[in-house]
Amino acid sequence: MNEELAELVRQAMNGDKVSFGKLVYRYKQHIVNIAFGIIGNLHDAEEIAQEAFLKAYLSIRKLTNESAFYRWLVRITTNLSIDKKNVNARQTTEPIEKMGVFLDNPGHTPEEIVEQKENQQLILNGLEQLTVEQRTVLVLRELHGFSYDEIAEILDIPLGTVKSRINTARLHFREILSKERSC
């Protein structure tokens, strides 16, 4: 963590709302995308991300180490997302066209865009078939690059459980995608 960021977190921990606003601005994209990865619904993901920032603001004084801020924020987000996903367990993924998703990585040609949308739908359908625990570790590890140790800390589970859960999730996801692609 660079000194400027550490200073922002320190100021936010002292109740400086402007500094906290800068942290929201800085991390909003990451947090919304983590929630989206776990939930698979744009509207819920934004709502969860806002709730996570609100919770973080209200309890930031409990944070003892400013360098742990981001992991702590991700922890709040994953807990809220898992709870939400468990409540909406029967909700199916909306088609990507209906979601009104604003993508950060759009294709260039019309053919690329069509292919990209098909692939995105395939991924979202595949994720939906995983358990929420498998989905969470896969998103944290593969999409957001957290280490095994960091995931263990975020989810508050033993390192061995993280490893086996990630491996099971990868195998399951690979099977699902192979099946979906062959259809």
């Binding site: 709302k17 906290f20 606003g21 929201v24 601005y25 909003k28 994209q29 919304v32 995308n33 989206f36 990865g37 744009l42 993901a45 934004e46 991300a49 806002q50 920032f53 609100l54 603001y57 209200l58 990507i96 998703v101 604003f102 993508l103 950060d104 990585n105 990209q116 692939n119 995105q120 395939l122 991924i123 979202l124 896969l138 593969e142 999409l143 095994y148 490893k163 990630i166 491996n167 990868r170 996801f173 690979r174 995608l177």
Partner: protein, 162 residues
């Protein structure tokens, strides 16, 4: 190294969560085993497909404002509810204090009224007095009801204002 052992280590190899000596052993096996190499390629290509194809959302520019607005509302609600909690606490203490002070008189009076009423309703009185369980469960139900009403009112004050 056998294929079975290598396949168990492929995810760790893919994640590069390895000590150097084990990595050399897996590398040597992969150089000669098409099946394990194929398995590793399959893992890598699936995970790469996942990373490339997962939609990456662009967050609305008003997101930060919305969060800060929610924080403002929460603080406003807290500024209202915190003194209320304090006032509620004082009221409870005062009520308890009064009960301790005038309790013996009030309870004696209540018991007298109760006995008169129970005397009047002799059948009900027999049933009621015979089953202390009924008395206890009535108190518990009343207590639970009060708790639910309190929690619900608190929820309304905190969340409806946000």
């Amino acid at each position: 190294m056998e294929c079975k052992e290598c396949k168990e280590l492929l995810f760790d190899y893919y994640d590069e969560e390895f000590d150097a000596s084990l990595k050399i052993q897996v590398n040597e096996h992969l150089d000669t085993c098409f099946s394990c190499q194929n398995e590793l390629d399959h893992i890598s290509s699936t995970m790469n497909f996942f990373k490339v194809s997962m939609p990456v959302l662009t967050v609305d520019s008003r997101f930060t404002e919305q969060v800060m607005h929610k924080i403002h509302l929460e603080e406003t609600a807290a500024a209202f509810t915190k003194p209320m909690e304090g006032i509620g606490f004082v009221v409870v203490i005062l009520t308890l204090g009064m009960l301790v002070l005038i309790g013996p008189t009030v309870i004696g009076l209540l018991m007298l009224v109760g006995n008169i009423l129970l005397g009047l309703l002799s059948t009900s009185a027999v049933v009621f007095a015979s089953f202390p369980l009924i008395q206890m469960s009535s108190s518990i139900i009343l207590g639970m009801l009060l708790l639910v009403v309190t929690v619900y009112m608190r929820h309304m004050v905190l969340h409806d204002s946000v």
